[in-house]
Symmetry: C2
């Protein structure tokens, strides 16, 4: 076994051991650890920002692009939001230990389900140091131990933050192995982390599609993941066109780079001539490039023709694909075929069509008369999120504390035996 | 692409297509399909039993052992229980479409979660023809399409049963591709089935540990599985010894070959001398072989010494390992180290120890003063089960209809946009 694998196995053993402690840590202990971490961060701000400066300089020297450098930067606002994040997660209700549906069975035993941590969670993310605090706080509050592996460009920032996490855990009397930050920047560490099911129960990769596909392909452990966000709005011919205009514009332009941003607009043939020119003008003002199907191009002068590739593309940019469809049936088939099972919305005033859309569109969030931009853990009331899952088993959609837990059966008897 | 892979891909495509139909099938349609299958089975009993006879003869010629031949046999009782199973699943409440927790958020949107099918389920099982009906009925009632791959020795029985399933689906107006039985006995079919995530959403392997380990190792799709059932009873020194006696005997001897049967008995040192001789005598009467730790052997004359391997063994036989432990702490450590996270029970009258056992033992079922033999879907009130999961994500413990579903978010608005 090579050195990196050995190091990771040792981290895994420690995490497994620590997970027994985090699983039985009291709500008060867990909250104390979170708040004590915030208290440890505050006086160490100069050192942390200096460590981040070191990462930024190395990143510049390495030729990272502007977007990567932006994500790597820990400015005042991000430092502040790390502190607020810790306080906010501390204020969330503790999901662990909740027993649901404890009911007597005809045999006389009482059966219910208790919410429990998953165990050890491996988080793999890009060079975004604030994610270290975000991921650590969610794992800890949900009673899990975590192994965090941030991008190698953020190594100094992450180590400085990890030191504060250790202090927080110590103050709360929880093993400092409950949250471990991988110190090596060797990529082999990721390979080891995702192939030790004896120590790690689930992997949460956060980052670009390439990273997530590689990890899912190689992991020997369940992965909670989000690949694409090819989100749709379908404007039905029974839509209130003012709502349609407002929601479509918001879903595309409120932010361009997020996974719940609208990427393909579907419009019922019956209202296309009424709504599309009005939308096209608004998008033009916002400098959004439109790519239309043949019918759309016939309606809107001078826009680009969409190729078949456009229907399967997550632009994450001011580009929108537009397709005119015959009716709801064609819209549902298009979404279930080309979408990424993330978030899709129908604009309609028709009762039966809204019910059909909700039932038949196979996405993690299905919406009626609502902007797709609402699809996140905060807006849904989860308090925080570790990501948005486009998987089908375990957790779909925004994953908060509950998504990092599972339920075991609790059976209470009084000497009951099976006949 | 070879022929088997092509065949399986085609089945996968058909299943994916059919899963759209099963997902929106009404409760009435699904129940009708189940009951019509039962109605189709009844007059075809002679043909089905003849097909089974053909399988049995081939199995004998092939030299299958008695246990395998027993599982392969479709006798009158098993035929009857297939019919009853169909009626029973038809009578269960439909889990699909249930919307939970639909609440208004401060933004004005209303957010809830709707229970939806997983999509396409691949079931791989041994040569047990009655499982074909069991698996098909649970998948269909939960709105899923299924691809069923039974052991090659049961091929004629399965084909005869599959014909009845087709009739049932037809009568209910559901695509006959909703339940497909793999017709080839080539093992490569399994390899193809577990590596096509584009068509299959989850694999449920049922059978021996070897089969399940191989499938989990090679699958590129999430697997809901159960490996071992190394179940424990811990007799605490605050136990009511009559309950301890009764429960321990039942947990071991009510049936020997089931996964929730007791395999290792842990006894607190303080009560070992009182309870063990009494238990040993009862086990002797039932011809259960005991294998004890050093202290146990000192207490009980003439029993075998346990080796370290015994603590990690699922006997599925009239053999019981016994270990005397100092206290609850040692018991919990032993269970979390050597157990299989299946089902474990404490016998105690002590309030705090019962709470600690429930919280700290990391198994899919944790019990107090109850025989481990209760751990199954029927006893827990699920109505039926597709298996018992010892995994940590998605579903733990007995998996019924709900374990074959997931939840998506439903968001209702009135033209809401994100600020």
């Amino acid at each position: 076994m090579d050195e990196i694998t050995q190091t990771m196995q040792l981290m895994g053993q420690r995490a497994r051991q620590a997970s027994r402690e985090t699983a039985r840590a009291t709500t008060d202990q867990k909250n104390k650890a979170l708040l004590a971490t915030a208290d440890a961060l505050i006086p160490r701000r100069p050192q942390i920002l200096a460590a981040n400066q070191k990462d930024l300089e190395a990143g510049q020297a390495k030729g990272l692009d502007a977007a990567m450098l932006d994500r790597l930067e820990l400015n005042e606002a991000r430092f502040q939001s790390m502190l607020e994040g810790l306080q906010q997660v501390a204020s969330l209700p503790d999901p662990i230990g909740e027993i649901n549906g404890l009911r007597y069975r005809p045999s006389g035993i009482q059966v219910g389900q208790m919410r429990v941590p998953l165990g050890v969670i491996g988080i793999i993310y890009e060079s975004r140091p604030n994610v270290t605090i975000e991921a650590a706080s969610l794992c800890l509050k949900s009673g899990n131990a975590a192994i965090l592996r941030g991008g190698s460009e953020s190594i100094h920032s992450n180590q400085a933050i990890a030191a504060c996490l250790k202090i927080g855990l110590q103050e709360a009397g929880i093993s400092e192995n409950a949250i471990q930050v991988v110190e090596t920047t060797d990529r082999a560490a990721v390979g080891a982390l995702i192939t030790m099911p004896e120590y790690v129960d689930v992997i949460v990769p956060r980052g670009g599609k390439g990273l997530i596909e590689r990890i899912s392909g190689e992991a020997r452990i369940p992965v909670i993941k989000h690949l694409d966000g090819i989100c749709h709005v379908y404007i039905d011919d029974k839509a209130d066109l003012d709502k349609a205009f407002k929601v479509t514009l918001n879903a595309k332009t409120q932010r361009y780079g997020t996974c719940n941003t609208l990427e393909t607009l579907l419009v019922a043939e019956g209202v296309a001539a009424q709504i599309l020119p009005r939308l096209a003008q608004a998008f033009d003002e916002k400098q959004v490039e439109l790519r239309g199907c043949e019918k759309t191009c016939a309606l809107l002068d001078g826009i680009k023709s969409a190729t078949s590739e456009d229907w399967d593309t997550e632009y994450l940019a001011p580009i929108l694909a537009i397709k005119i469809v015959a009716d709801l049936d064609e819209a549902i088939i298009h979404i279930n075929t080309h979408g990424s099972a993330h978030t899709d919305s129908i604009i309609t005033e028709d009762y039966s069509r809204s019910r059909r859309f909700i039932t038949e569109v196979d996405s993690s969030s299905v919406m009626v008369n609502t902007s797709t931009r609402f699809a996140d853990g905060f807006e849904y009331g989860l308090g925080a999120e570790i990501g948005i899952s486009t998987d089908k088993i375990h957790a779909r959609g925004p994953v908060g504390l509950e998504g990092l837990t599972s339920q075991k059966y609790v059976v209470l008897g009084d000497g009951h035996i099976r006949q």
